[in-house]
Symmetry: C14
């Protein structure tokens, strides 16, 4: 198999694996935060405003972690800076 084939093949696999693994724990963390928000709502309905605001800021920060992974994966799939060493 040519070198380019190997590169394309393994990049594809790495991208698939990284995105699948990379969302695992953001998903878990989100699940927990939402779970707790629901519980807090049930316990203190009148604090709804501050609870949902804190929840959405938290979800945004966790989502940012998942997006780091997505960005790296898309860089690898569409525009890999290391390729210039090969195509030179």
């Amino acid at each position: 198999m040519s070198d380019m084939h190997w590169f394309v093949l393994i990049s594809t696999v790495a991208a698939a694996v990284a995105i699948a693994v990379g969302i695992i724990f953001p998903a878990i963390a989100m699940g927990r935060a939402i779970t707790q928000a629901l519980e807090s709502l049930a316990r203190q309905p009148e604090a709804e405003k501050s609870i949902t605001r804190t929840l959405f800021i938290g979800l945004a920060m966790i989502e940012s972690l998942a997006i780091y992974v997505l960005v790296i994966v898309l860089i690898i799939l569409f525009r890999n800076p290391l390729l210039e060493y090969l195509l030179k």
Copy 2:
């Protein structure tokens, strides 16, 4: 086996694995959130509106993580940008 065969074969396997793994933790996180929502409903029936609204926003954000994986898998199966290096 020709290079193209290897590529097709491993892409198929990677797609199958990635989708199977990638829904694991969104499923768990959803399960937890729904579980807690049900518990909160039982404890505070009159807060039903804010509970279900928070639940559905949360489920949507978790679902978005699973859809990142699905998108990457479909890109790999139907339209892989790295293939142009091979078909050139």
Copy 3:
């Protein structure tokens, strides 16, 4: 063994594995949600309507995750878009 043999063989195995793994966590998540619904019913029988409605929406969203996997598996078994590169 010919290339096609390998492809058929491994696709079959991957399909079997992916479906077996892919239902694991939806099953767990469903189990938890149902469990909690039963507990909530026992604690607050008069909230039965909102509990079962939330439960069924949640089960539907979890089931959708399992169906993503089933769809990918059936695409691999019956109609794999990557095959056109091989049969060309």
Copy 4:
């Protein structure tokens, strides 16, 4: 060993493994749901009707997951669509 031998052998093994693995978590989920139903019955005997109805709908949805696996296994054992590429 001929190609067909390999195919038959590995399909058999994959079928055995997939069914053995595929029932694991439905079994666990069922166990939990039944466990909770029994506990709820003990705590709220008068809600027996809604409890058992929710339980049986839940068991049916979990059973459906196990049947997805059984269907894929039987397709592999008795009628594999990918075989036509080999017998052609």
Copy 5:
């Protein structure tokens, strides 16, 4: 070793493994259900009838999962449909 030898040998091993693994989680699930039934009996002796009825329906549904595995194992040991491709 002839092809047939390999086939017989590995089928035997796969059957042994599948049955040993396949009963694991039904056993656990049964254990939990029975455990809970015993606890419920101790807490609410007068609900004995509905408890034992729910318990036995649940045990039957879990047992059905174990029997799926047993059926696949016996099909593999005594009558494997894929063998006709080899004996043809």
Copy 6:
């Protein structure tokens, strides 16, 4: 080593492994059921009759799972139906 040697050797090992693994979880499940029965007896001594009856039915159903394994192991050790393909 002749083919028959391999077959005998691996069958022996598989039998030993299968029985050792196959009793693991029935043992655990039994342990839990008995444990709970003892606790229930301490909490509700006057329900002794229904507790021990439920316990023994449960133990019998769990024992049946262990016996499935024992039967498959003895079939493999003393009378393996797949052997006729080899001795023919």
Copy 7:
């Protein structure tokens, strides 16, 4: 190494492993049952008779599982029915 050597060697190892693994979970299960019996005795000293009777029946049933393993191990060490295919 001759075939017989391999057979004797691996049988010995398999016997040692099987017995070491096979007693693991009966030991755990027994430990739990005894533990609970001791706790029940402390909580309800006057139910001593029914507690110890249930305990000893339970221990006997768990011991039976360990003895299944011991029997298979002794069959393998002293009298293996599959040996007749080799000595013929």
Copy 8:
């Protein structure tokens, strides 16, 4: 495959893996902190100011850990100091 190919390939894979692994535990830690903040808000609504201030300082320190990883990954992808030994 040329040396440069290997280097590019493995650097790409390492980058994908490192970012996917590196956000795991910051995600978990954030999830926990947010979870607890939500719970504290529900328990002590009037301490909202000090709670959210402590929360955001904590999230910033955890985010810094994830950024260490991102920095190392970007150094590897875009500007690797060890490359000068190779290009010399």
Copy 9:
């Protein structure tokens, strides 16, 4: 290395491993039983006689499991019935 060397070497290793593994869970089970006995003594000092009697019977039954392993190990080290096939 001669056949006999292999046999002696691996038997020795298997014996060491089996005894080291075989006492693990009896040790744990004993630890638990003794732990519980101590707790029960602290809670119900006047039931000391029935507690210690049950404890010592339980310890004896667990010890019997460890002795099964010791017996198999000593048989392997000092008098292995399968050796007669080799020395014949």
Copy 10:
């Protein structure tokens, strides 16, 4: 591949792995400490000063552990003392 290539390649991988692994547990530990601080604030708002002071000293000491790893990684990437044995 030349020796230098190997060295550069593996150093790069080791650096990526070490930083990804090295922040795991500091992240967890920080998460726990912050979590507890939030809980303590909710329970004892008037002790805010001593709580946040202890928290920040603790975070600094945990951060120092992560920085040990970062220092070793940067030494490896930018200035490795062992390289003088190679360039001599």
Copy 11:
């Protein structure tokens, strides 16, 4: 390497491993028993005599398990009965 070298080498390693593994769980079990004894002493100081007597009998029985391992290890290091087959 001569046969004897292998034998000595692997025996040494096996001895080191067996003793290191073999004390693991006795240590844990002892730790638990002592822990509980300390707790019982704090709860029921006047039962000190029966607690410490039960504790020391229990520690002796657990110690006996560790000594089984030590004995097998010393037999392997100083006087291995299987060596006579080699030196003959």
Copy 12:
């Protein structure tokens, strides 16, 4: 690759791994101690002096463990006593 290359390469990797692994558990232990200190402060604000003194002595002793690892790593990187056998 020359011997020296191997030595340098593997020493570098070992140093990176050792420091990354070596801070894991000190980090966890510190996290726990700080966590508990924060909880104790919330529960008993007036014992602040003895709590923080005990905390800092404890953190120092745990830090000493991490420093043992750092010392060994720096010895390996900068001044390895075993090198004199090679350079002789």
Copy 13:
């Protein structure tokens, strides 16, 4: 590499591994015992004498397990009885 080199090398590694592994669980067990002793002291300060006496006897017995390992390690490093078979 000569035989003696192998022997020395692997003995050294085995010694390092054995001591590192062998203190793991004594450390854990000690930690637990001390933890409990501290808790008991806080709950029942007037039982300090019997608590510390039981604690120190227990620590001595656990220490003895760690010393078994140290003794075997030192025997292997300084005076290995199996070496006489090699030096003869």
Copy 14:
């Protein structure tokens, strides 16, 4: 690579691994003991003297375990008694 190189290389790696692993559990055990001491101080401030005395004796005994490992590691790095067999 010469024999001496191997020896030096692997000794170095073993030393790094052993120290990194060997402090794991002392660190955990210390963390627990300190944690408990802090909790006890919060619960029973007036028993501070006996608590801190017991704590420091316990920390010393755990530290002794970590020092066993450090001693073996330093013996291996600086003065290995088995080297005399090689240098002879």
